[in-house]
Amino acid sequence: MPGSSIPSTVIDGLKDKFPAIEVSENLTITVPEAELLSFMRELRDNPDYDFNFLTNLTAVDYPDNFTVIYNLVSFKYGYTLMAKVNLGKDEPAVSSLTSLWGSADWQEREVYDLFGIIFTGRHNLTRILLEDGFAGYPLRKDFQWVGGRE
């Protein structure tokens, strides 16, 4: 299985189906939040790409928005793909992908735990690493904590 990044013909096909997506130079795709679920479903179910493995799901707190990052792999073709969703700073929420990939379950809980991003359309969205009563979301840039060297 040679080559890892996704060929540009495939990207063009995707662009025709989802005109709202933006593709950057290094073939990272930015998806509007509203279309995420249908876009991901297309990626998973279309036999031309067959992205059956959600390898990584995480988030970044940028100065003006949150970004959720998805890394997908297709075992059949060996393609890899990075997709991003930008979310507003107030009450960030994004649709959950647990209905598509089981591996989204714990990773979404981790992102919720550390960033406070809500994943809609799933159950059991609770803290996973920190205890339930923990105040704040530590990986946000404005998180303040006591502790440190004496």
Partner: protein
């Protein structure tokens, strides 16, 4: 009419079979598990947050402390991600040294997995034999970097130091002796009847489900899925070596265990080839003293000992990372524990959990 009642049992956070501080709440009907709810986070140290206050080089020691059983692999994944971001060309010799160290680390990690699994099933002897051989690897690591467990040997752009003169002879001796040691484990543990009875046909993992749940590494390959990044998407110089990827058939605990033993043999094969091909030359690329990667992000994956180990690094152009996220294989493999345990007896939970080979430093990050 007999009425049965569900009972709840806490396994952990302090329990000898959870390999650290890990907590499973078991709901049981009689002796059969109806729900196994894992609770992790008892070792959550906030490494990803600490990374934001460290420079790129200062973060290398923290990668050791994620999967402390295979520190070299963690180092490599991280430095390769930063190298990808900065487009640094690593000298050939350094690449080969990295391969040798990574495969040694993989063997060390699998030895612990095999040894502790033998303890979980009830045989302390297997553990003693495995740790005896692991000490040899620790000696080799001590030669190259002076530390046994937390190595921090990789640097962005190469490795910290060239191999000492006595390293290669000692390594060759290890390579000569290790195959017979592996045969010994096969006789002692794998061939043991009680061991087989406890692990065969227990905790079956269907390949389709495993892929859907993002399970990777030996756990995935034991279900018969050919997915090893060293073969499927070769990084570093792995495309120059001739080795096989051991696969299982049934995807039960026994297959997951034997996959690890077979993988150790393949790792030995890789190391032998790497030693033969080891070129001369520098071990460190020319990198600036203060590392300031260009603004942007990168995601890089390598095949770790427990599965696919990925690093997501975001740079804002300064000398400190804006964000580092680690895709920890143990964490994601553990996400499937509930489904895997359902319907099995309580004694099988230990067998299943042990066969997944988790390390809590990595699960909780």
């Amino acid at each position: 009419m007999l009425r049965t009642e569900e009972i709840t049992l806490n396994m952990g956070p302090q329990h000898p079979s959870t390999h650290g501080v890990f907590h499973v709440v078991l709901k049981m009907d009689h002796e059969v598990i109806t729900e196994a709810r894992p609770i992790c986070g008892y070792l959550h140290r906030g490494i990803e947050k600490l990374a934001e206050a460290r420079t790129y080089t200062q973060f290398i020691p923290y990668t050791d402390r994620l999967d402390y059983l295979a520190a070299m692999l963690n180092n490599t994944g991280y430095v390769q991600a930063v190298e990808k971001l900065m487009e640094i060309e690593v000298p050939e010799r350094a690449e080969y040294i990295r391969v040798i160290c990574c495969e040694l680390s993989r063997i060390a990690s699998h030895l612990i997995a095999v040894g502790t699994y033998s303890v979980d099933i009830g045989g302390i002897t297997g553990f003693m034999y495995c740790l005896r051989d692991r000490e040899r690897i620790m000696d080799l690591f001590e030669m190259v970097c002076g530390s046994r467990l937390t190595l921090s040997y990789m640097r962005i752009g190469g490795v910290a130091e060239d191999l000492p003169d006595e390293f290669i002879p000692a390594l060759c001796q290890f390579l000569d002796e290790m195959p017979s040691r592996l045969d010994e484990y096969d006789g002692l543990i794998t061939g043991n009847e009680i061991f087989q009875a406890r692990t065969k046909h227990v905790g079956l993992l269907d390949p389709g489900v495993a892929i859907n749940y993002g399970i990777s590494g030996p756990n995935l390959r034991a279900s018969g899925v050919f997915w090893d990044l060293r073969k499927n998407r070769p990084y570093s110089v792995y495309d120059r070596f001739d080795f096989e990827v051991p696969l299982g058939k049934r995807g039960d605990c026994f297959d997951r265990f034997t996959c690890r033993i077979k993988e150790m043999r393949q790792s030995l094969k890789i190391i032998r080839q790497a030693v033969e091909q080891l070129p001369e030359g520098p071990v460190m690329a020319k990198v600036p003293k203060v590392l300031k990667p260009p603004a942007g992000d990168v995601y890089h994956e390598i095949e770790g000992a427990k599965g696919i180990l990925g690093y997501y690094v975001v740079s804002d152009g300064s000398n400190k990372p804006y964000r580092i996220h680690v895709r920890r294989p143990s964490f994601i493999n553990l996400g499937f524990l509930n489904e895997l345990c359902k319907g099995w007896k309580i004694a099988d939970v230990v067998a299943i959990l042990g066969s997944l080979d988790i390390v809590l430093g990595e699960v909780d990050c």
